[in-house]
Each structure stands twice: as C-alpha cells, then as structure tokens.
Symmetry: C2
Subunit: 542 residues, 2 copies
C-alpha cells in the first residue's frame, strides 16, 4: 500500500460537494450590498436576492417539496426565474424550466412525465398553462408569478407565497455533488420530449468554464437575452452569481429593450441565438445604439454569417461562436481565438468563426468519431464523423428513459447526432445537422413531431418536413405532402390543422404537394427535399 | 425513492476525474504550435512541452516509478520544474518539490520521510543535495538537471534520461480525483517539517480559481517569480497551462531579469512575495523599466505597505493581496476589489488592501472562529478569532502524521493558526500571526526550530526567537538569550553556531542577551519580546 492511502481522507474541512448554491452563499456574504438583479424598476441586492431565494425554499418546503421532487416553472427571464435556480435546489429538489413556446399538450406531457409537485407560472403564459393543467388532470400546487397584469390560474401568487417563507432558511448543499439540479426537456429528434437531467457538479463546472472563458468579473453585467429555459440559460443563471456580477432581466427580447439595457445598465455580456443578432443589426432607427463598453456576445445554434460578424463588430459587439446541446448544459465547444485571427480578411474570419471549435476549458474531449471505428476522424477537414463529447458537463441521462440514455452514451461518449469534420488545427465544424431537427429562432423543432401531426390529417398520405433556410429565423419548417387518392385539401387548411395541434413556431411556413422522392427501398429521401427547400428559399431571397 | 435516483449513473461520457493533467492534454491539442515555455533561448511549444512531459513519465515508469511513489525535485523555476508537475502525476506518482533554501539535514529528512524513489536535482543545488544524500544514506536514483554548468551528483542527466522515454506515453488521469498529486513540506510551527499532501481535485479547482480571479486567457504570459516549490507555485504551474498561456521561467529572481522578461516576453501576470515588490521598486537604474501592457501582481505573505502600493502602481503594476498557506494550495483568500476602492485616498486604499480579504471563488468558507464557541467572530473589526477555512482546496492531510492532521481539521475547519478580525464587510484581517512563524523573504521560519538550535548550544540556558520587522525581508528572526550561570559567549559565536546547524536564512540576524520576560506560570512572554524587536527596528530605521 502506498503511503498516500492512509490518514488522508475526506472530512468537512477539505471536501465540499460542488454546487452552484455555494455561489449564492459567497455572493451574499461578499457582495451583499451590490446589485444582483435589475428588472426595470425592480432591483435586488445580493442580500435581498439571497433572502428571496431562502424564502422561496422555505415556502416550498412548507408546501411539502423535498429532496428529489420536481418544481416546474414557466416564465420569461425575470427575477423569479433566477430565484428558482437557487430556491429549488436548496431543498435538494429539481428545477424543470419549461419552454414558454410550447403548447398545452407538450406542457401537460412535461408536467406528467416530470411528476411536478409545484408549478410556478408567469401570468403571460396563463392560457397555455391552463390548457396544459386541464390536460394533465391531476392536481398540483400552482403559483402565479404576477410580474405583469394577467390571468391568474393558481392558488396563490409568488410574492404572497414567499412572504410566508423564512428568510434565514439554510442553504443546504447536496450530500453528493452527483445529485440532480435541473430537468430540461428537449424536443430532440423523436416524438416525445426527453427529460435531460443535469447535476450540481456539472452545473458548477460549466458555470465556472463560462465565467473563465468569457472573463466574467464582479464588474460584469449580464443581459438575459437567452431564455433561461434553454439549459438553465447555458448555466449563466449560476455563472453570473459565481463572480458576483449583475443579472439584467428582459421580458421581451426585442432590439429596443436590448439596446436600452446595454446603454442604461452597462451590459458587458450576453448570449443569443443568431435571430437576436439579426435584431440588433436591423434595429429600428429609434433604438439607442450608442454604448461605450465592450459587449461580448456568445452565440450558438447556427454559425454567424460574415455579414453578421462585420455588422455586429461595427456596432461594438464582439462575437464568439459556441456549440452545445441541452445534454451538455449548453456550451460544449467554443470557437476559440487563435493568433492571426485579427489579421484575417472578413471572409477568412467568418469561415473560421463558423466552426464549432474545440472543447471548452472544462470539457474533457470534444471530437468527431468515425461511426465504423469509434475513433476520431483524421484532422483533414473532409472526413465526416459524429460530434461526440466526454465531460463532467454532460448530462446524467434522460429521465425514465434508460434506452435513450444508453444509446446517447454508447461507447463512452455522448453522441450529439451532429456530423462534423475535424480541421488540421483540431477545430470541429458541423457539416450536416442531425437529420431531423430544424432550428428556428434558436428553438429546436422535431420534424418527426410535425410530420406526425400532418399524418393525422385525414387527407394526408405521406408527409416529410425539412428545414428551409430563412433570413429572419435561421430555419423554418417546410412540409412536403402527398395526398390520399381522391383527397383534396388546401395549404391553408393544412396550416389551420397544424395550428390546432402544434405550437405556432412549429407549424410549417411553406407547404408543397406532390409525390415524395424515395430510395429503392421506399425510404423518403429527405436530402433531396432539403435541396428543394434551399433552392426555393434562394429564389425568394434574390 | 425519487425518480432521479435510477438510471442516471456515472459513465465514461459524463464523469471524468478532475485533474490538472487534462489541462496539458487540451493545451497540446488546441494550442500545439503556440509557445508554452520560455526560458531564455530555450523555448517549447505546447506540443513539445507535452512530448517532454510524456517522455519524462515514460522514463520514470521504466525506472520503476508507479502509482503512489514519490518523485522529488530541487530546482529553480526552469522548464524541468514545470515538466515534473505533469510527467510525475501522469504515473499516479506524487511530486515533492523541495525548497531550494533548505540545508542538507532538512533535505535528508524530506527524502527519508517522503520515501522518495527518484530525485531530480539542479546542478546549482548539488552541494546541499550531496550533503542531504550522504545523510540519507540509502540509495535512490538521482538525475542531474544540467540547465547550467555545475557539479553533477547523479547517475544520469535529465535530457539523456527523458530522451529514452516514449514521446507518446499516455496521459492517464487518476482513477479517483481524490488521489495525491503533490507533497510540499512546510516548516510549520513545530520542529520537524510536515508533509502537506494535495490531490488532483484540489489542484484542478485551485488552478481554475486562480485563472478565473486573475482573468488568465490564452494571451496571458506568466512570469515565474514565485518559487514553484511553494505550493506548486500557488497552482499556477497548472493554471497557466489550463488557459494555454505562456510560462516564462526565471532562474534568478532579480530586478534586472524580471524587467527584461516583462519587456521582452510581454509578461502580463506574476506572483511574488513582498520582497520581490521591493526589488522592483528599488531596481538599479539600468533595469529597463518601461512596458506597455498591464501587469498584474498577486502578492502574499505580508500586507503591501502604502508606499509599495503607490510605487508599484506608478511603475505600471496592479497589485492584489492574497493570503494562504501550503495547506490551502497557496491562495485561500483574496482582497477582492469593491466599488469605491478606486476613489479612496492612498492611505485608505493601503489600509483596505492590507486585509487578507475573503475566500476565493472556489473556497467554500473563510472566516475567523471564536476559539471558545467555534462560531465566526462578530463582524466588528475588533474581536479576534482564528482564521479557519473549509474548501475543496484544503490539503488531504499531513503525510504519516495523523495527530497533526486531526488537530489541523478539528471541528470541521482547517485551522490556519493565524489570528484575524472580521470587518463589517466580512473581509478578514490578520492581527497576529501564528505565534511561532517568522516570514522572511517569503519563507516560513519556525521560531521553534531556531530556538531548539540555540538551546543545544552549551552556553545557552533559555532562548526565544521572534520576528523583527525588516525593510528588505519583511521579517528576520531575532533571538533573545539567557546564558547559563557563569557561561560566556558572544553574539558572533552564537551566529556561527546557528550557521553550522541551520540554513542561513533561518539564522537570527539580531541577538540580545538578558533575562526573558515571563508570565506568573513561567511561560515566556513572546508578546513583549516582539514589542522590543519592533521598537529596535524602528530606532534603526529612523
């Protein structure tokens, strides 16, 4: 036995479970009087923020929430959303942030599947949520967040609820850092959403990696353009608190309020899908565009085109391209700066920045695997493999879905489903997207889900849905439909059918009728349909 | 059972032991062609650095080094020292960096106590090391680092040794992140040095905390003024590699080479004891003092006086005051910036910056405990308690010393032995040092060790050693001696005796004879002696 194997064990002085709850404790202790959250005229210091989180935890505990229970929230990026990221895990409970763009059925599925005990819901989403609760049937505690006027569907409101909580409720770290902290449903590529479970250890480390990569400091001011229901806001919900920076909330992601926040609050950092970059560039004339500070933007979902890079730079922004998935707590790779980049022409720069890049500072490995050998593809920029990741910042697995979990982790890697080449400098670049996902305005749309809806229409025989490039949204779904013999239906009727059964952002914006191209074995050749959609989009654009 | 307790287990895709070895893998993968290490004309890219570390690991493995074995090194801050920080842990072996200022006996004690199997030793330290090996008696493999001309005492030299190693030796992470990576001997406050054992998890986290706190980036250039034998260079040995920055080596910590490196290599960061700040301020005229970049200096060991703050700022440096111990991987608290600091007068600023501050971003708790209640003292700037820390960046324990380990961790905190108040803003400030330690030029000197040496002199009846303030060294040991009745001895003879038995930096620079002040129970009142030493120092200075 080695001399190092005896008398050197864990104890409370030298071992603490990694948890982002420690960030709140520290920020309240050190930065108590500094501004933690700005939401228009509502502002909280770190002491107040800490107290509100403790009250929330205390009130939830009194309502029967405990370790391993699920608390769901549907809200925009407002203070209550940030508070839930601390108040819920303090109890060992798990926060399920629901995408605000889902429809009632999807919401009902999530509430049921996650076995949600308590729901916090913003009045803005009352209509959809009421539908979801109706469809759910069973009774759960519903709490309205009345940040703005609107319909109330719950038994109490958030402020009354937390007012009864104990402001000195303890911040208890989990016994084990391998304890669930968040549950985020992804539309993924198959029908039902999958519940991605993330833990305290990963949340801590991904937040630290973000803080380090983007040089967050106590002076940083972070604007909440990226929805927190996306992988907990790529873990910035915790990263900003880690450094004692300021969270700036934003109910409406629009150019006016974004520029106003940048100017008024001194925003230094924000994350955004490309659709938001477009907003900033094409802002109405009256938006106050002048600001002095350097503003860093992390963008993901699709590569920023060269015009976007040029125009955002001209406006004073500094763009970094990231890549990740819900399963990787958001950012897993980053297109890191390298010497020479600043001297490149705009076209060269855009080509470089379009890459998904390399594993971030705390990701152990991000590579592209040859599906035949499960070895990294050669770094020759041409051989395509599957982008795969090993990291402490990879999810625990899919909730109640051992089969999908096993498939995702096959061979000791998390399989993203995205197809990428490896450049000679080891930077990854995605060449083809996991075939069934359409990314519209930063939201994943499962083409399979849309197809299933179409297939249910009595007139539809066959349907295929693919991504159509779109200047504003990045992509939108385009449907190709073959009708049943003798059936007659208009595009407008199909659209109405979809709107009835799907969230509106998932509805195809373009519908074509006719026979579908197939392989000799009868499989629909989506590749050809994508070509058609691209060609049509080009014609329209020109 | 909660729904989160099943089907969500660790696997190779979502769990990786935290280890700074991952930093080297990533840097070599991403920054292969960039400069990792500069040592005058010797320079290595990250690919070359990676290869040299792998060769070292391979050669050590062939020499019989394996998991849990100790490899010792005595060298200044040269490339081999950095390489050892990776090549040794790659094997699961433990790196013991020996203080280059120790004498042969202390070295022999360390080699014996650590059960060192292989020793890497710089030719500059051949004389002391030969003494140490002679005193050790038993035979170990000794490898000379022949960075400069000098006496060789080993069986081979470093370059020949690693030339035989396999450049593609795998970088194997430990099975468990709770695995020893370093062994650092501290003089502490009692006689024999204690072996502080640190692990991969703590090294990873403390490096990340440093990188985050000091905004290290891939563009950072770190100058090695702080000896790497001090807590692995406060974990910058790993932090700089984590971000893919550049290590600039330095054999001689002198103003000329420091300024030259700042100017020639574009240094952005360095760590230094106050004695080095003094060097920078009082540099000879010919030192090239002009540089354009912002240079951040982290300083610890003693609070920077206001004149030092003012003069270093004038020279273009930005100072941050830290506090920590070998047991906390170096920095444990940091005197963090707060709003208003920049507007303070120099005196106010100096008073603020003299504080030890608050726990760093990954330290769970740093406080001052009332010894009676073991609760934090009130934040009133007057009640003195013991500075205590809970953190993942606290050592595993003392090697083969369960009693000292138990005492250090009593009550679930690591006890620093330093006495501190808590200001109303929760910043800690040390008011009295652990009574027996003198810090001279950044080195800890155990007054007990010096006293023991004095007590062995045939003429000495009683001896007490305390810190005497010193403009250059911060502190030096001052001895108060009562002679045996009838005995006669001069200060020069005492000095000669000390030089024979102690490393020269530990020898008292001032010696007084006479009766010692005592309590009614016969305990020597060191407090009074410190007052005398301070008063004498003031008289000399004025």
């Amino acid at each position: 036995m080695s001399i190092y194997e005896t008398g050197l064990d864990r104890n409370p002085a030298n071992y603490v479970p990694l948890s982002p709850l420690s960030f709140l404790k520290r920020a309240a202790y050190i930065y108590g009087n500094r501004t933690a959250i700005i939401h228009g005229r509502r502002q909280y210091t770190y002491s107040q923020f800490d107290e509100r989180c403790r009250r929330l935890a205390s009130a939830l505990a009194r309502a029967g929430v405990g370790k391993g229970d699920t608390v769901a929230i549907m809200a925009p990026n407002i203070p209550e959303m940030i508070e839930a990221h601390y108040g819920v895990p303090m109890l060992g409970a798990v926060l399920c942030s629901i995408n605000t763009r889902l429809d009632g059925s999807a919401v009902a599925f999530i509430l049921r599947h996650s076995e949600t005990k308590v729901l916090l819901t913003d009045t803005e989403h009352a209509r959809v949520m009421r539908q979801g609760l109706d469809e759910l049937g069973s009774k759960i505690l519903v709490i309205d967040i009345a940040d703005i006027e609107g319909e109330r569907i719950g038994e109490t409101d958030y402020e009354s609820f937390i007012a009864q909580g104990d402001p000195s409720h303890p911040i208890r770290l989990p016994d084990d850092e391998w304890h669930a902290i968040g549950l985020n449903y992804t539309s993924g590529t198959t029908g039902d959403p999958k519940g991605v479970v993330v833990h305290h250890r990963g949340a801590y480390l991904n937040a630290a990696a973000n803080a380090l990569s983007f040089q967050l400091t106590p002076q940083s001011v972070y604007l909440w353009t990226l929805p927190m229901f996306h992988c907990n806001g790529w873990t910035y919900s915790w990263a900003v608190t880690m450094v004692g920076g300021t969270h700036v909330c934003l109910r409406r992601v629009e150019a006016g309020p974004i520029y106003a926040a940048i100017a008024d609050c001194g925003v230094t950092h924000l994350c955004a899908a490309p659709v938001v970059l477009g907003m900033l560039i094409h802002a109405p004339e009256e938006a106050p565009r002048s600001f002095r500070q350097k503003v860093q933007i992390a963008t993901g979902g699709a590569a920023p085109p060269s015009t976007v890079i040029a125009e955002t730079a001209r406006l004073g922004f500094q763009i970094t391209h990231l890549y990740g998935l819900t399963e990787t707590y958001g950012p897993a790779t980053i297109c890191l700066w390298q010497p020479g980049l600043d001297e490149m022409t705009l076209e060269q720069k855009a080509a470089f920045m379009a890459r998904q890049g390399v594993g971030h500072v705390m990701a152990e490995e991000a590579t592209s695997l040859d599906p035949d050998t499960m070895e990294p593809v050669p770094a020759n920029a041409s051989k395509i493999g599957e982008l795969a990741i090993r990291s402490n910042t990879v999810m625990m697995g899919y909730l109640k879905n051992p089969e999908a979990t096993r498939a995702a982790f096959e061979g000791g890697y998390f399989h993203t489903g995205d197809l990428a080449v490896r450049h000679p400098d080891n930077y990854l670049e995605i060449k083809d997207r996991a075939k069934d996902v359409i990314i519209s305005g930063g939201e994943n749309i499962s083409s399979l889900e849309v197809e299933e809806t179409l297939y249910k229409h009595p007139a539809v025989m066959e349907a295929a849905v693919v991504a159509r490039p779109d200047v504003k949204w990045g992509e939108t779904p385009q449907a190709f439909i073959t009708l049943k013999p003798g059936a007659e239906v208009t595009a407008a009727e199909i659209t109405a059918w979809c709107r009835q059964h799907l969230a509106s952002f998932k509805c195809p914006r373009h519908i074509s009728f006719g026979p579908l191209p197939k392989t000799s074995t009868g499989k629909i050749q989506k590749f050809e349909l994508r070509e058609v959609a691209r060609a049509e989009a080009r014609v329209v654009a020109s």
